[in-house]
Symmetry: D2
Subunit: 397 residues, 4 copies
Amino acid sequence: MLNGEKKIKRPLRWAMVGGGRLSQVGYKHRTGALRDNTAFQLVAGAFDIDPIRGKDFGMNIGVAEERCYPDYQTMFLEESRRDDGIEVVTIATPNGTHYEICKAALEADLHVICEKPLFFTSEEVLEIKSLAEEKGKIVGVTYGYSGNQMLLQMRAMIEKGAIGDIRIVELQYTHGFSSTEEADRFSDAQRWRVDPKIAGPSFVLGDLSTHTHYMSQLIMPHMKIKKLLCDRQSFISSRAPLEDNAYVLMHYENGAVGRMWTSSVNAGCMNGHRIRIVGSKASLEWWDSKSSELLYEIQGQPAQTLIRAMPYLDESCLADERLGALHVEGLSDAWANVYLKFAVAIDAKNRGDDKTLNQLVYPDIHAGLEGVPWVEHCVRSADQGGVWIDYQEVPEK
Amino acid sequence: MLNGEKKIKRPLRWAMVGGGRLSQVGYKHRTGALRDNTAFQLVAGAFDIDPIRGKDFGMNIGVAEERCYPDYQTMFLEESRRDDGIEVVTIATPNGTHYEICKAALEADLHVICEKPLFFTSEEVLEIKSLAEEKGKIVGVTYGYSGNQMLLQMRAMIEKGAIGDIRIVELQYTHGFSSTEEADRFSDAQRWRVDPKIAGPSFVLGDLSTHTHYMSQLIMPHMKIKKLLCDRQSFISSRAPLEDNAYVLMHYENGAVGRMWTSSVNAGCMNGHRIRIVGSKASLEWWDSKSSELLYEIQGQPAQTLIRAMPYLDESCLADERLGALHVEGLSDAWANVYLKFAVAIDAKNRGDDKTLNQLVYPDIHAGLEGVPWVEHCVRSADQGGVWIDYQEVPEK
Amino acid sequence: MLNGEKKIKRPLRWAMVGGGRLSQVGYKHRTGALRDNTAFQLVAGAFDIDPIRGKDFGMNIGVAEERCYPDYQTMFLEESRRDDGIEVVTIATPNGTHYEICKAALEADLHVICEKPLFFTSEEVLEIKSLAEEKGKIVGVTYGYSGNQMLLQMRAMIEKGAIGDIRIVELQYTHGFSSTEEADRFSDAQRWRVDPKIAGPSFVLGDLSTHTHYMSQLIMPHMKIKKLLCDRQSFISSRAPLEDNAYVLMHYENGAVGRMWTSSVNAGCMNGHRIRIVGSKASLEWWDSKSSELLYEIQGQPAQTLIRAMPYLDESCLADERLGALHVEGLSDAWANVYLKFAVAIDAKNRGDDKTLNQLVYPDIHAGLEGVPWVEHCVRSADQGGVWIDYQEVPEK
Amino acid sequence: MLNGEKKIKRPLRWAMVGGGRLSQVGYKHRTGALRDNTAFQLVAGAFDIDPIRGKDFGMNIGVAEERCYPDYQTMFLEESRRDDGIEVVTIATPNGTHYEICKAALEADLHVICEKPLFFTSEEVLEIKSLAEEKGKIVGVTYGYSGNQMLLQMRAMIEKGAIGDIRIVELQYTHGFSSTEEADRFSDAQRWRVDPKIAGPSFVLGDLSTHTHYMSQLIMPHMKIKKLLCDRQSFISSRAPLEDNAYVLMHYENGAVGRMWTSSVNAGCMNGHRIRIVGSKASLEWWDSKSSELLYEIQGQPAQTLIRAMPYLDESCLADERLGALHVEGLSDAWANVYLKFAVAIDAKNRGDDKTLNQLVYPDIHAGLEGVPWVEHCVRSADQGGVWIDYQEVPEK
């Protein structure tokens, strides 16, 4: 059980690019990273495309004035000249800038934590992966929900055979906040998401379902996709070619089948982030609006509801427990878990501790190596009319 | 509100073929038909393939000994010679016999009520439809769940624009009772369902999802399928070519998309019969394990739960109400509604009352004309490797 | 599993007093009694205080014109003169008439089935009990919900020690339909319920919570109340002295404690009929809006949801199963179970079969012997200012 | 919407007494206080009764070695000598020590934040209140759940008449973790809770239901109790006279009635913290295991589910929003809200800003002034045999 005591020698000196006052995700990053002040310390930032607003914001959250920078280039340069310069940077900017900032950060010898979807193409991921290896740095991807420990419970139960052989994988990440065209004009944050120049080749596939796809891999690390088919729509036509709804069918190597539904036009839906794994003898089901619970249904037996923090859970799940039974954990706690693992990974990398690195379950560059091509495959299938295409794993050399 | 008072002059003289002691559905038919003793009167039957067991059973439920027949041929012949002979017959036998019994019944000048899936091919449906028209008889299909009045509420709300334009149709009818091969040996009723000679070209597509497909048409009568794609599996390999799991994607004429998931290997699932209709401004969701409720989610507003029998419901929904608010209705009540409509339809047909017939919402031969080809399309798509195929409405001449 | 086959030699000739066109409960009685036409046959009735409306109604539900009587006195007299006269009568009239009609029916040598609350005083119950014994007749009380078989599952599990020693009994039967004074003017059925001359000494205590009190006794037959305290209110002052809300605290002989909340002013509540039994190691919880399920929570283990019709249930529960797993049963099915037991009890009584009678779990005169005094104790406690009073079992001689 | 930007000039210098490595609540305090590093800064502590373990722990969470003190007396003394000494201290020690530490802290001119239940007697609360006033200091009470913003939504809706006049107040805080005697031996934290010398005059009344009682006052500030009755039990007899289960009945000045159920022997219950307020036209219901939702049931209309962060909520509710719609907030976020209000209150107090103080809704010393006497009244009623006693507000001079 976590109680804030340090897991690494001293907190890492951390900065953010983006994530300022108008950002939807910036606060989630800080909430995760700074949960206990024993993993990260926020010492610098280029928080905003508007440097004045960015500096004002940075000072308001406790960053020294001189370390609130107008842009990431300046920050990387100036910080590299300090003895107490930053060691790791989070990139929380619109999708289209992830690649260049990530590259610049690695070249500035920084560990990187980046918002999803990591980049637009597999080639970019492979390039950054090589660069990170060369530099000996970690690249983490902030799949925040993936820090919910009940997913580790699912992973452990599946590994131990609790559901038998996996047959069916039901994935869903949907909401209805983009049901109207007006929604796109509501905020900067929504506007760029439907602009291919900034958002990349997809809207909801990249914005929503990459979370769920990664979580499915976390839960079932041995499952490999063999082929998939994607059918995508732009119900608000001004969003085309970017989709606001997509259906994906998948065949896995082991004979299992799966579906993903991702949508931002599932009108009124407030609990549409769900994972159900059906095995030959039982099923497991999780959804994030009730993420302190896990439904375990053995065919022919009473359905069971497993609850966070209870001693009957797997030790891998309990290891990330913070509040104890009866007390709801939410997205803040999941982000804290993810960021804590980033810190432990960075520390292990710095120390050359491969054993720790290999045991750690968290969204590293491999998550990107699986998420980006998955979206690419989906887009390619959809653009060919919703046909089946063979799944090509990205070669990791 | 229904209270058992007669809707037609006198109860119809009714018989069953099949539905005897070992049948899973026979009792549901009798529960529906005989709910109030003002719509049907059970006077004869060929209840069982074993004539002795059939007669014993028939007498045990109050049928006169001499009207418990060894087979349907004898029954149709003998009853036609009586002044008080049967007027309508229910066919509750395995799928492969529906067509021949239905034809014989119509030729014996009987109205027919038949278990789903009606027949195996569109040609058979068209032939029976012609014959029924020639004979001036009703052919009803027992989609029992479709009698739940909350579906009429959905229909009325959608027609009145409560959800805006339909965009997404999510359909699911799944359970896990066939998760193992042993399940097929459990009972006669399960065994024939996986035998193509008796069950026809599909298992769960015909056995389960035809219910849900019909219900979707009841709810959205104006929605026409443009093309579909079906991916089906036999997780228990001895069931091949019959599927125990299938995914269907659909495109509708109006630009909407939809999915059906049907399965008998969704291990542990006990509430997997669901319908969600997403519109441009709101969604409606129904599931049969909570069929006295309806979820109405308007984007940007609090979610609403509509409850059976409440005055705010549409009059078409309230017209089928029996028990009143606070009191759960279940499958028995849904079957009673369906059978009452059969009785009203038969009576109207006998009287040549087309107005009543045209207003009545119930599963008649047109339900078969849509359900059978839907399964045919699914099987064809699946057998070609899960490809998109254009949807051909069956010409009604 | 019940499938409609006869449980007794031939259906009993049955009549109703009350329960006509304007009655809220009449249809529930017929739905229960006539479910399979093998237990009861409706042959006569004095359905309405308005004889013309009553006759019209009776003929509409299939009763012969000459057996639709203007009042119960005439019915009892005329029927007693027929060879095929009625054998059993249901009393579904306002509370204030139960006693006199029940007495008259027994004196006419009829078995009796009576709406709850049976009578107003324990003395009346004792008198009727003696008369019934003298006449060799059954007096059943229609606690319709009590026919839900999941209550038998609770009974069996508790008896087998599944929850350990009973410590806490949480009972609730509340709704909000009388939240305003206008509600009392809405219908005859509601109006008399708040008139002490017709309703007796209580409104919701007798109208609602007697159901739940009986069900608690069915579930825990060995639990005896030692003392209780009742606090009752008339939020709509015109209802005083009759309460529209009441709280009851109870101490049981074994050291357990309990509460009942009954209310018709629990605004908006549509699922307020609940029972939770807490034991030393686990709890069981049931509520009627989801009466095909049972929640079983063992301290320290995952919560279990038991579902109707599944093979893991107790055989006493499965014996009353009609529809099978996946299919919702509702109030109709519960009433059918209760009425079937009335029929079996009457038949056994007629045959002098005490063994069957003793094994049968159903609401007989003893239910009245416990329900009526329970309300009396509540009213007495409340009228003394909500004080504890010792519970006096009614002496059964 | 909160995003971590500072609400006060600079973070307050903060210390803890207790809350060390073995504490159940210490981490919740730090999680709340240090959420954004703009409200509090943890600079000192006397974390443990074992000074060595306490120092080790303090250093592990980033406190300077020399400011990890062996006991609170030393800390208050030493810190008072520093220019950068602590300004506010949190007391997270067993109940029996709250009073003396609180008094010492105030005498050392510190603001105080104290675990509930504040003290054992009303006299103690009055004395501390006077001392705090004299010293010009804030005394906050950590009712952590009360920071959930949906409670402010309830408060706003009730104030605006959304449910009409309050009639019924249903309160529950129960779990089953103390169902066995073994539970008392499980941990130090549980052991002292059933020892009257340390825990005070009650177990669950003080440990659990004071939370819920305070929350009810936050929601309905105008409701005053007129009389109450408490019935308490020690199902594990070794706990006597301390109760592990209690029922409370309440009458309010306005004619409303209410109940509290608090228990640590509600076996298996994992979602037993609930509040339902019934008004003359609608009800509101909240429970902490689903604290991002609020059920709003208007009699005669569809039930509504309000969801956190949605624009239709009251601005007072939205003001405490951190994560936005679709993202679950849990107990961490509630504690962060409570601690942020403590910071704002302390800052306002320091600046003499009464306007801010008067508008702030948070658990200050008045919460103690209501919670402590409420428990006293309950205990007194219970000890007299569960009788009604008039409620005496504690005079605030």
